[in-house]
């Protein structure tokens, strides 16, 4: 029995490594890849290596499923574009939808759930009412949650479309307002790049730093292997396309206050996915890197979450990052009295 997700990391990094797998290991690889939402990426990555017939069929299923996800994501983005046709400001696509809309390698085979967009903070009321007019509805009609989102988060409370059953997250910046780093949202909007259909994506360094902020400055590293795979592909693509990219990345990381997170992302991507990174941008190896890797690989061959303690530690850390202690205590107290799970 495989005890961690290394087999998946190795298959992604070095596709030929799967030629040595026996039947049982193949089944374990597939379960881990599905659990980490990397099955589509894996399927595309293994397209040119010899794979046993049954496993080829499983991978082909994943490719088909993700082709449809891609089509649906682009359709959903277009629905939002039409709903917001009267809004003159930039509508910036984020995360998976941005990768497929910009036709980046990071979008190939990637699973995409919600539609994430970013607009200027002062435009939120207009955007919100336009979306409500076009059929989106509140998911959480709880007054405390609603207030919490509006006062402290980087996005509106999630909206869901009543006919298509798809969620949209409307962001005005890339990290919760309560987090330590304060990214420069205006700078992100100013340098966003037009796609040609009226929508925008972030400029390369900002796109990468958003992925990094999402993984290392927010959240508990759930889905971290997938996010780090995105980071790996974006880094490879942008640094090959533009030799000034590493400089640009360092400058932008300073602008957004994400220098340490950027360095850690580069070190971990190089370590797990062999990403060629500019050494002076990656900082010094830290003991914590080891903990991150332990957490990222915490999945066994049945697809189960393992290493409960380190998982819990990162979960606690995610709240710690999001808010100062007194506020965290107040938040957890309110949530506890409501009998809900303590999530932000």
């Amino acid at each position: 029995m495989i005890r961690d997700a290394h087999i998946l990391v190795r298959a992604l990094r070095e596709p030929a490594s799967v030629e040595r797998l026996d039947g049982g290991q193949w089944s374990e690889l597939i379960s881990i890849a599905r659990a980490e939402s990397l099955i589509g990426s894996l399927a595309h990555r293994l397209a040119d290596v010899p794979v046993p017939d049954r496993m080829r069929a499983v991978l082909q299923d994943a490719i088909g499923a993700h082709d449809l996800a891609r089509q649906q994501a682009l359709w959903e983005a277009d629905c939002a574009r039409r709903a917001l046709a009267g809004y003159p400001g930039k509508i910036v696509l984020m995360k998976g939808t941005a990768y497929v809309a910009a036709d980046l390698a990071a979008g190939v085979g990637r699973s995409i759930g919600d539609l994430d967009i970013m607009v200027a903070r002062d435009a939120l009321p207009i955007v919100e009412s336009a979306l409500l007019d076009a059929g989106w509805e509140w998911v959480k009609p709880d007054p405390y949650d609603d207030r919490y989102y509006r006062d402290h988060m980087h996005e509106l409370p999630p909206l869901i479309h009543r006919d298509r059953d798809r969620m949209i997250d409307v962001h005005h910046t890339i990290l919760p307002l309560t987090a330590g780093p304060r990214p420069d949202a205006q700078a992100i909007l100013d340098s966003a790049i037009a796609l040609g259909n009226g929508l925008y994506v972030m400029a390369p360094a900002d796109m990468l730093l958003h992925s990094i902020a999402h993984l290392f400055a927010d959240g508990d590293l759930a889905g971290g292997l997938r996010n780090l795979w995105d980071i790996n592909l974006l880094l490879r693509h942008f640094s090959e396309a533009d030799e000034e990219f590493w400089t640009e990345l360092d400058v932008r990381a300073k602008t957004h206050g994400l220098g340490r997170e950027k360095e850690r992302a580069l070190r971990l991507a190089a370590r797990l996915y062999d990403t060629p990174v500019y050494r002076f941008s990656a900082g010094q190896t830290e003991f914590a890197d080891y903990l991150y890797i332990r957490r990222l690989l915490a999945r066994d061959g049945y697809g189960r979450e393992t290493r409960k303690l380190i998982r819990f530690a990162f979960y606690v850390r995610s709240h710690w990052l999001r808010m100062p202690p007194l506020m965290l205590a107040r938040h957890l107290w309110t949530k506890w009295r409501k009998g809900g799970k303590p999530v932000g």
């Binding site: 029995m1 039947g23 193949w26 597939i30 379960s31 659990a35 049954r54 499923a65 449809l68 049945y302």
Partner: protein
């Protein structure tokens, strides 16, 4: 983390790995699936996990959470005594959410002379019982849960899992099927009393052989016996509702289903007893091309 026990099963075109924190459900599966060949090379399409709902639920009033490669966020746990049912539900869930090599119809199917009869309908329509009964009367049983419609050829592929008999159907089948082919009786499950029946040997030996769809029925139990024509639009819409992966297959699913509706004669069938249904089916079958 605690080790799990595991077993691998091949059913029709799909192979499963069932991993469980307890031995009992796997021993029951091993006994009931004894005639089925295991998957070649230990490779499987899906993993099902049966785990304690909470850590202490492994020992104290053990309760089984159904998980695996594909899962639903709000699946209710089952008591360990219903672990076999949990395994079967887990396999269904993998197929319903993950299989893309066929269009899945929530239907039973049986075959004669290379031609398939497909029966679909809501829970309680009797489609499962009818397929089990016909399997005792010269038909080849192909499945009581999913009919797998081939996206290219339009054939139906067998998926002959254990037949899941509910409530009165258990007694009815005990009068005609050999006693050593029944699983343990599980009472008070979310679906009432359930007992599994191993399909006839021929159904298992020929589970790789597809058949041409020749007749589609929408059975309805408890009404005066009657056969009715149905409009193509109604048939199509009801089949989209009976399919678990119609939307997920996109255009390929649409093409396969429209062709199926165009080519396969279809009737709504009301009946009040198995005998009535058998008579109606024989009458239609002898006239079908």
């Amino acid at each position: 983390m605690a080790e799990m026990h595991q077993i691998r099963l091949q059913i029709g075109p799909a192979a499963f790995r069932i991993a469980s924190a307890w031995r009992q459900p796997l021993d029951q599966l091993a006994a009931l699936y004894r005639d089925y060949p295991g998957p070649s090379d230990h490779m499987v399409d899906f993993t099902v996990r049966l785990e304690p709902d909470k850590p202490w639920r492994r020992y104290i009033r053990p309760s089984v959470h159904i998980g695996g490669d594909f899962w639903l966020p709000d699946a209710a746990p089952l008591p360990l005594a219903q672990g076999l049912l949990a395994a079967e539900m887990g396999m269904n869930l993998q197929m319903a959410l993950g299989w893309r090599r066929h269009l899945l119809l929530h239907a039973s199917s049986v075959e004669k002379d290379g031609r398939a009869l497909i029966m679909t309908g809501l829970s309680g329509s009797g489609k499962s019982t009818l397929s089990a009964m016909l399997a005792q009367k010269g038909w080849r049983f192909m499945g009581d849960e999913f009919a797998l419609l081939d996206l290219d050829t339009g054939d139906i592929a067998p998926f002959p899992r254990l037949i899941s008999l509910k409530n009165q159907a258990i007694r009815a089948m005990q009068t005609v099927a050999p006693a050593d082919r029944f699983g343990p009786e599980m009472t008070d499950t979310p679906k009432g009393d359930i007992r599994h029946l191993v399909p006839p040997k021929a159904a298992i030996d020929r589970m790789g052989e597809p058949a041409r769809p020749a007749l589609l029925l929408f059975p309805r139990f408890g009404h005066d016996p009657e056969l009715r024509d149905m409009g193509q639009a109604e048939i199509f819409v009801r089949l989209t509702q009976a399919s678990t992966n119609y939307v997920a297959l996109g255009e390929a699913g649409f093409r396969a289903l429209t062709r199926f509706v165009d080519q396969v004669p279809t009737r709504a069938m009301d009946y009040q007893s198995i005998e009535q249904a058998e008579e109606l089916i024989e009458r239609l079958w002898s006239r079908s091309p």
